[in-house]
Amino acid sequence: MSAREHIIILGGDFAAPFAAAYLSRMLPAARYQISYIDTGLGDLSGIYSAGHADLAMVNKLLQMSEPDFIRRCHATLKLGEHVQGWGARNYMRPFANYGASLDGIGFLSLAMRAGKTGNLADWTKYCLPSLMAQQGKFAPPAAKSVPIASDYSYSYNLDPRLYAKLLTMRAQHYGAALIQAQSVDAKTDKSGVSVTLPSGETLSGDFLINASGAPLQGQSWTAWAELPGQSVSVKRAAATPTLSPATHHTLGEAYSLTAPLQSGDLSLSIHADSAGETPFTQGHIDTFWAGRVLNIGQAAARFLPLDSLPFAMLHGDLERFVELLPPRFDSAVEGHEYNRRTGERYDRLYDFLAVMCSSCAAPGPFGDAARAISVPKTAQYKIDLFKARGRIAVYDEETMLRDSWLPAMLGQGVWPERHDPMSEEIEQSRIKVHLTKLAEVIEQICAQMPSHEAFIARHCASPEFAARHMKAAP
């Protein structure tokens, strides 16, 4: 093998330090040299305060200590997404399934036969992490194969600026070069990439990862003009004594994503009009991977951060890039496949946003704009099939799996007209006993758990949080 190929990561967005750490860990150092040009973080980095389900796995891959990560990022634990104002009532979309099946019959059909329909909020008692979130509790899942107690996972709410610092250090640890610059000028052509720094120095490379938060000049962009939301404002609140173990997605006049942090809530509000200080244009770049440039993060797509999907998409895009890493950067076929799959991924993401918006219950200009959205055929098909018989149609490139779609549909008030006829093989009385037992077991497990704040104080508190918690404790 001749000289190493040089990958330059163009910063500006949280996606940059994330990519720098992930890629410097994943790519063999014998073949790749990675440079990260850190130009700070833009206003939209707050979108990444809500961790997705696989974030713990990423940190493990990056060989980070969990308590240390939580402490340094002022992070809190997160059992799922709390959704308020989108459906008729508030509900949780946890990193777990609601209920438990019986004789291979899914919980939805069991609940329908028991007459437990109408609102997902009424199912909280059948889902351990939902009940934990409601009661403000946290404990990690039990060791493998204990029913219910081990059947959930968790993630984090975090301060992206602090996490970015940590990731940058990991990137350097794995051999990435860090270059700090105010602004840069990047140019690419068929044979390579060149980036000019403010000092006049020019960096030449073989491949550019554009994580600057915006497309490079000359790249076309498809607007998702129907999605509500034109501007963003960010607010950091003072620390509070209680911490919800969830990310909150609250729809009122505006849609707010709130990540409870040890240092105080971080909220990002998306306004239907231009009331926020930062403009928010939703859509995606037409060619995610164009020649020697890969666009990730806000440079690839911008959309309502429901379900912590920005984090999930960023991570997924990088995984796909590594999975399809070409033998040389002048090979085009891998990039084509990346674009095919990534395009489908974002189409499926739009399906989800369209389902959420079209069924949204909140009054006001944001809700009005949301309800006016036209639903793509693929999403309408999903809605219709679910409405008819409670089945989720699964396409090839889904970021949200079948089990995540289910509470989204139910929470948004899409209830099936029929239950699974096979569920009739089970007697009503057995279903009743099953549901009662389930709720009892969940309640018992939950009762023994510490509060979220107590858990943090014991295992992973920042010095400030620890001090406050000591004072507050009796």
Binding site: L27, L325, P327, E334, E337, L385, E417, E424
Partner: protein, 523 residues
């Protein structure tokens, strides 16, 4: 619906209304045709609907033959049998079954080459990178690599060994699956007993007419030769190629795949075993198609699948016979078919299962698999009496993808070849292929990447086996495989080979294992 109609809701003349209450549940299912598809459908429906007071009727005529020849299956069949609660040893005895670890493809990539497509992956992931990238790296570095040595089921098959896998997938003996080679006719008989014991009504008779409901074109009833009229809410068409209901009555239409899969006939014959049965099926490429060899306990199934544009029936028959080792036990029989699928496998209240729903040549033993998919998807989408469009659309979407993905995988066997010894192979090498396949092949050639999908029988390991087996080695490996220093590569590959060799050495002989587990009672 008018008020008048609503008032007469219970009257049998009124069509099923749109409401979804229990009194719109399916009451009667009529299965048209026996054979493997009919009896697999019957058994599955009888089992899952056991406690419902549902009338399940199967109409078949002994005067109409079934296509059923010896059948090789995929591991999926075991889940089907498990769901029915069938004891595996009993099934082995009843169907003269042998175990199957994969399919040997002889003379496909080129004359003289042989590989086995096993039920299991080659090697294991290292650094989150599939094993075949390390093989590619070794091959492209000039190392001599025998692919067989990296697959336990392949080595076991070559050695004539078999033993049930270990339940722990991390155990070396847990890294493979298995299927059966059995007599499909006996399997159907076995499932007939199973179904009749669970209340199925079997009617012997030939159907001469089908009556459609005028209001919506649903099938209302079928009329038998003796004048009996059999009504039903749902009809499962298992009548074979002709599609008595789905095509004959409903004129659904057929999507042909013959542009891509040129074989359209098969000549079959059973022969006596001349050696202990091998734990794998063989598919040998020939001048105008390919010949199967399926060893059962009591006999061997043989068949030459060919394209009639390139060889006559007589020539094909002569060629079949020339390549059978044991004495024949029946006269050769020619079957005609056309690869493709019904435009809607579920149309109105009729579900086409088996050959009536579509046909793909048995190169990868997908016949029973596609029947199983058809019937299990129908059960998953079990409708109300009015067969709502949502259920049908989802069923058809899934079945279409299942067929198309098997189709693309089959085409790969024909186009990934260097054979130029006959007009048939010249045609295959140069024929246009679907974009969905050419894109997959291009990506694999560049850097060994396999395209994954949600639905479809053949996943990652199968594609790897056929690509390499037929001589397509990627130009490059995944750069991630270079985490491993070059000097360590031979040692790592050697370790995998050794552990497989040791495990295979300790396995039972196939024949001995059958004798112990599921030998048919002879004599």
């Amino acid at each position: 619906m008018s008020k008048d109609q609503a008032a007469h809701n219970d009257s049998p003349e009124i069509n099923a209304p749109q409401a979804r209450s229990d009194n719109h549940a399916v009451r009667k299912i009529v299965i048209v045709g026996g054979g493997t598809s009919g009896w697999m459908s019957a058994a599955a429906l009888c089992k899952v609907l056991e406690s419902k007071k549902l009338d399940i009727t199967l109409i078949e005529s002994e005067a109409i033959g079934t296509v059923g020849v010896g059948e090789a299956t995929l591991p999926h069949i075991r889940f089907f049998n498990q769901k029915l609660g069938i004891d595996e040893a009993e099934l082995m005895r009843e169907t003269q079954a042998t175990y199957k670890l994969g399919i040997e493809f002889k003379d496909w990539g080129n004359i003289g080459q042989s590989y086995i497509h096993p039920f299991g992956a080659y090697g294991y992931e290292i650094n989150k990178t599939p094993f075949h990238h390390y093989l590619t790296r070794a091959i492209n570095a000039g190392q001599e690599v025998n692919l067989d040595a990296f697959s336990l089921p392949v080595m076991a098959a070559r050695a004539g060994k078999f033993q049930a896998p270990h339940p722990d997938p991390d155990h070396i003996m847990g890294t493979f699956g298995y299927a059966f080679q059995f007599d499909a006719g006996l399997y159907a008989q076995y499932l007939r007993k199973f179904s009749e014991a669970r209340g199925l009504t079997r009617i012997e008779g030939r159907i001469i007419d089908t009556t459609l409901r005028s209001s919506d074109g649903f099938i209302e009833s079928v009329t038998l030769e003796n004048g009996d009229i059999i009504e039903g809410d749902v009809f499962i068409d298992c009548s074979g190629f002709r599609g008595l209901l789905i095509e004959g009555a409903l004129k659904t239409g057929y999507q042909s795949y013959t542009d891509y899969l040129p074989c359209n006939r098969a000549v079959t014959a059973g022969s006596e075993n001349t050696a202990p049965p091998k734990p794998y099926t063989r598919a040998t490429a020939k001048s105008s198609g390919w010949q199967w060899r399926i060893p059962l306990q009591h006999r061997t199934g043989n068949g030459y699948v060919y394209a009639s544009d390139f060889i006559s029936d007589d020539e094909a028959t002569a060629s079949l016979l020339a390549d059978i080792d044991g004495p024949l036990i029946n006269d050769p029989r020619v079957i005609r078919f056309s690869s493709g699928m019904r435009k809607k496998a579920w149309n109105k209240n009729c579900i086409a299962v088996g050959l009536s729903g579509g046909f793909l040549e048995p190169l990868e033993s997908t016949g029973l698999y596609l029947i199983q998919e058809a019937i299990t998807n129908f059960i998953e989408l079990f409708p109300t009496r009015d067969c709502p469009a949502a259920d049908r659309d989802e069923y058809n979407r899934i079945m279409e993808l299942s067929f198309e993905r098997v189709r693309d995988f089959l085409i790969l066997h024909y186009v990934a070849t260097k054979r130029d010894d006959s007009p048939f192979w010249d045609h295959c090498r140069e024929m246009a292929i679907p974009d969905s396949l050419s894109h997959k092949m291009e990506l694999f050639r560049s850097s060994g990447r396999i395209i994954s999908y949600e639905l479809g029988a053949f996943k990652f390991p199968s594609w790897v086996a056929v690509y390499y087996g037929q001589g397509i080695v990627p130009d490059n490996h995944s750069p991630i495989a270079d985490h491993m220093p070059a000097a360590m590569l031979p040692e790592q590959l050697g370790a995998v080979q050794n552990s497989i060799r040791q495990a295979v050495d300790a396995m039972s002989e196939h024949n001995a294992y059958i004798a112990q587990q599921g030998a048919a009672q002879l004599g």
